[in-house]
Assembly symmetry: D2
Homo-oligomer: 415 residues x 4
């Protein structure tokens, strides 16, 4: 087991750890530890919400969650010799749920998927499913089942939703400017178009006083992925992956968190993954001047791991960029197309007895694939969603007999 460079007492908030983590991006947040290139080490992680969600049958905790505290990250880790323009090589050696018994927190053998309500974050289908829902998943080694989704069992592609390096002051300023510009186009929208810095709930590692307050005022929220990686929610950042991150500040300042036991492409319920606290083992190295050498100037490059679960048969749903309610064409809009593919999959699953909310939660957490099939055949983009058939304990394929409808239980709802 590699050395633990960031330890978490799962009985306490991230704010109360001996070395607290952070929930904003800012170059001033000091490193929690420093390593040399070639180091292997472990970081322990809190659930992304700092454990606001419980193992129960009510979605009220999802409905009422304070999203401004998210994501609670472990780090930063400084890498000796890293300089702006380098590529930081990060190998994801291993990761998983909380390995010891430490109390009733997510990652103790269970995790959850939540549909966030429209007034509190929303999700990909918030126009169709505006309320809060939840499914709790039990872990069986690398497999997951849920009392809220009977008839389903799958192997998770476990991964960190969020890994990134610290932005430079200039890059941070660009982020804040461009996102505020977007907000300004429709400032009253619910859910909002973007999340500006929020000082109240900011956590800035070991910083205190004015230094911490400055991080609160300036620090970028961790919600979106950006040039530094961040909350990319790429399900294939799994065991064995290698990621090449741009370095923007001396030491690179690598942070991670938001561990997912499993997630489908799109993470469509917003908190669509199976969320958990846990640990992650990393190896780091440097490619000096790698950004220039390889033209990697705007986003990380990565190599997915080779131990993803093997599924060989899929039932696939297609969507095109036509708004089905108004029969309106959207010009090559892959977002609309994928939304339709998701809605088509949900309607299909409903014929087997699942509720729409259950089907939506399933597509968020299961290892589904979302493909941009074509983005050029004007005016309709075409996206497709691949659902592995083997995750169901009944035959999900279309047959002449029609779907085997059954009582499929219910997910956790808000009261």
């Amino acid at each position: 087991m590699p050395e633990v460079l960031f330890s978490v007492d799962q009985a306490r908030s991230m704010r109360d750890q001996s070395v607290p983590g952070h929930n904003r991006w800012h170059p001033d947040i000091p490193p929690a530890a420093t390593v040399r290139p070639g180091a292997e080490f472990r970081l322990e992680c809190r659930d992304w919400t700092d454990n606001q969600i419980g193992n129960n049958d009510s979605a009220n905790d999802v409905r009422d969650a304070d999203l401004t505290v998210c994501h609670m990250l472990s780090g930063p880790i400084a890498v000796e010799g890293a300089e702006p323009g380098d590529l930081l090589v990060v190998d994801i050696l291993e990761l998983g749920p909380v390995p010891q018994e430490t109390g009733p927190v997510s990652g103790q053998g269970w995790g959850y998927t939540g549909i966030f309500a429209r007034h509190n974050g929303g999700g990909f289908l918030t126009d169709y499913y505006p309320d809060a829902y939840k499914a709790v998943w039990d872990f069986h080694g690398q497999a997951a089942t849920s009392r809220h989704l009977p008839g389903v069992r799958f192997t998770g592609i476990t991964h960190p939703g969020l890994v990134g390096t610290a932005p430079s002051p200039e890059l941070l300023a660009r982020w804040n400017a461009r996102e505020q510009a977007l907000i300004d186009t429709d400032p009253e929208r619910v859910p909002p178009l973007a999340m500006p810095p929020t000082a109240d709930t900011a956590l800035a590692g070991t910083l205190t006083g004015e230094a911490a307050a400055r991080v609160g005022r300036e620090g970028a929220r961790t919600v979106p992925p950006r040039e530094n990686g961040g909350n990319q929610d790429i399900k294939n950042f799994t065991r064995g992956s290698r990621v090449f991150f741009p370095v923007y500040v001396p030491g690179a300042l690598l942070s991670t968190g938001d561990l997912h036991f499993s997630q489908g492409d799109g993470e469509i319920t917003f908190c669509g993954a199976i969320e958990m606290g846990g640990f992650i083992d990393l190896h780091v190295d440097l490619i000096k001047d790698g950004m220039g050498k390889y033209g990697v100037t705007d986003n990380p490059v990565f190599m997915p791991g080779n131990v993803e679960p093997r599924y060989a048969e899929f039932l696939s749903f297609v969507g095109i960029s036509v708004d089905r309610r108004s029969d309106t064409n959207h010009y090559l809009d892959a977002t609309v197309a994928y939304r339709n593919a998701c809605l088509n999959a949900i309607e299909y699953l409903k014929t087997f007895g699942y509720s729409g909310e259950q089907a939506y939660l399933l597509l968020g957490g299961a290892p589904i694939e979302g493909h941009l099939s074509e983005v050029v055949d004007v005016p309709n983009a075409c996206c497709s969603l691949y659902l592995p058939t083997a995750i169901f304990d009944f035959d999900i394929r279309p047959t002449a007999e029609g779907p085997r409808r059954a009582d499929r239980g219910r997910c956790a709802v808000s009261s």
Copy 2:
């Protein structure tokens, strides 16, 4: 070998076949043949452009191609007993290039990928690559190489770009209305937002006179995918796939064409696949009232084949929904995000010596994967492009030494 129900003399235009095909969607186009459920049969196909593109080193033919004749389809095939509301089950048993020597047409051991010019169709990156380019590919069994892309060899996921059933008159009217509405928002745009019916070059099978003229006036262009499937350009419609199509007219009236030797997710150069004439073997069956039974009301459902090439290692490029030229955020726009992933991949490949156009052509034709990684982390969608490393005969992975730059030749350009 199954019975040939639609035969093509590759030395002649689709217009001059004994039983011509069609290049518009319209319910009045009469069936070229009728089969019973359970039938297996072969359809021969022309290249989508009716052979306008040659095996040479100039992209002038791509620049000047008449796109209003596209796509030249084989069919329709009527299925006995099919009625609106059914699902038509179509198994893709086999497909491939033209199997006999019949002259210098695409599919005779070669195919091509074209980047269409902005003034003639455009492509996914037309703002960056506005001119016409071409790569000619040689087939070696299921593998392809190109003199215009030295250093690359891959196994094709051969598939039809276009398969679909005929629309009902009502559905056709909806298509024409909603697409015209989109055009009307910016009628002078280049390339246009959508393609209205174009009578001059319409081909309506065996129809003649006023019946054919009506198809020309009303028939929907075959460019976009729609509810009937159509030009979905899903690369995974390969050998062994099963597709469930909605049936909108009696007999279903199935047509296909636009065969691709290989294509990457997105078909990003517009004619991004490796295009060819050839043949396709199908098996059909019916699920009576399947649309209602399974809630399949808007798009086909399919199961991909299980003989796709196996690639185990990928180099993956990430893009987010920020316009990089203006540093503008686009709210959860997966199209922008995937465009950036493509641009990032191209910039990377350029450091090895390829031109941007070569890299763009490569990403169009090679079996790359395009994933909607997340579409919920406001404001930035994140898409990722998976490039198999084994298709290169040199090491494409980032290393401390930097990229192995070499002379990588050039693609076909327009004069």
Copy 3:
């Protein structure tokens, strides 16, 4: 389509082709064609028995087949510049059944699997299944079904059972000597321990007179695999494979045949593959002095293709090296262990309603995997047989309810 260098009129015996092939290994058989390194070409092939087996419901043809005419090979092809000590690089570009309609021969949309009788060749389980049986398979693109094995459908890993280079006179003499020595240990055994040269039915390409007679007297039978490759029956020699053959004579003299639509590891029924006539497209090249450079002195080396069907779930049967009838231990004998794994699989399948002969035929033709799990734990070797569950249209996995027994029809038997 590459140039046809060896053409076969499927209406005629291999003996009556304009350029006949051969059914013995001998360095004197003259090349049917000569190519340069880098060439791509097609060879047409007869069924291995020269079409002795019919598409019918009797196994009498299997029972009475003349095995001394086997295998009817296409070639040899000489490669310019090939010299003893080189490695001949052979890419299997494509292969398949007979592509044109030419009469009722194997490969015309169908093939067969036979269990050979003990008195006529025998098979891996001849002590348990001593009589002749047959299953006829229908081809549906790359998939196969059989009226003799209802409930089963699978994608074939199509491959040539036999590819090899010509032996030198010295190597041929070694083969004949060592095989005769084995025969001499039990000359009366049924089936025989090995097959000595058999002059009567020998075919020596275009040779005639004394030259042909000499081939008859000296030519090694093509039954076993040897240093030159030959009848290795490796199911993974499929599309996209690259094989490196030792070169023993000037020109290498490459021959092939015995095409298999599909086969399981072991080819356990002797004619265990789904046999067919057809075609194969090859590319050849040379590694000068490759045998010495790479230490490849005794057998070919190969790289399997990457378009094999994907199966993700298997039911696996274990066998150990204990003779179950006499409860006798055989010291680390993998042959005994695999035989037990096969017998265990057959007993299992019988509980679903198949006869033992049907199950045996199925394991011969379906894409099963046979693994040498361990060969060191004295005294018992352990082999395991992996049966893909998806090839059955019912659930083959063990459940608390027990097997779903049904009427599974019958295979072709001998009268």
Copy 4:
């Protein structure tokens, strides 16, 4: 984390644990714990040798290891309601190395592969490599590297080498009788043909006195796989596998141990896997009367896991059943054929600079596949060994340039 039902203090011998395990098969060994069908639980395991092998650069410990203490097993676990004739369903949920820091034992971030000397167990190639050698492997998440095998890194298919149920007294008597009969055919052979009961070093769980002595006298050694499963060394018993074990005694009495971080098919160096202490999480269930229902009378049946590492490209070596030293044919002997495939692979790897011993160790521990390609083409069986090319950090494929020979270091040798 599931409840720990068998705990191990890795600082102590298995003999000195609070509840000791066992190293013989005998129905009288009392259960260490009892569970109900449906239970999930963890068992902690010692290295198979009870930690006789060290993390150092000498193979003297392998040379001198006392093999009569092997394998140190954890258990037995009794399952309520299990009766002879049932099938015990065992799901391997998770397993891995020792998760806590507990001192310098195998499994603490490292493991080893050993070639046993001819006089102390031997191995598959003991006639060629009669002395003791060792490679120590470092774990990096699921990947392994070795200072004794530079240039190699692979992902392990982690699995227990040994899982089994207790034999009935009758079955145990059969084992002892048939193995003694084999020994009696050549009682002086080195290495011996089989291992009879050995009382001195027997460990019988919590038994003491005469009861323990009886286990010593009668208890079957754990070396070979037998009807109860046992030391099958099947590398695919990995995460997610489900095994169906015959039940021979009330309670089934399940035991396991001999954890392997990775192993190639065949486990050819005897201790060919990467051996380690660690833990395993299991789920158990019952199929009542499953042996009769499914005809599973002689060996377990299993379904491999679906998270094995994906390798897509292999270099494969063929062997036939001819003894190459004497040019003697062995009739359809798959053991001889696979030995030749292994020797061919070793000779190939030597041309890149590895010693034969290094190559042999590599083939034992790396995820190679060993296939029974054909076992019917008299007189030569053909086996093939699939070596993943991606485990090397240099190009292992044959090229015109010849192998890239380099200094590849050395493995641990005995003095």
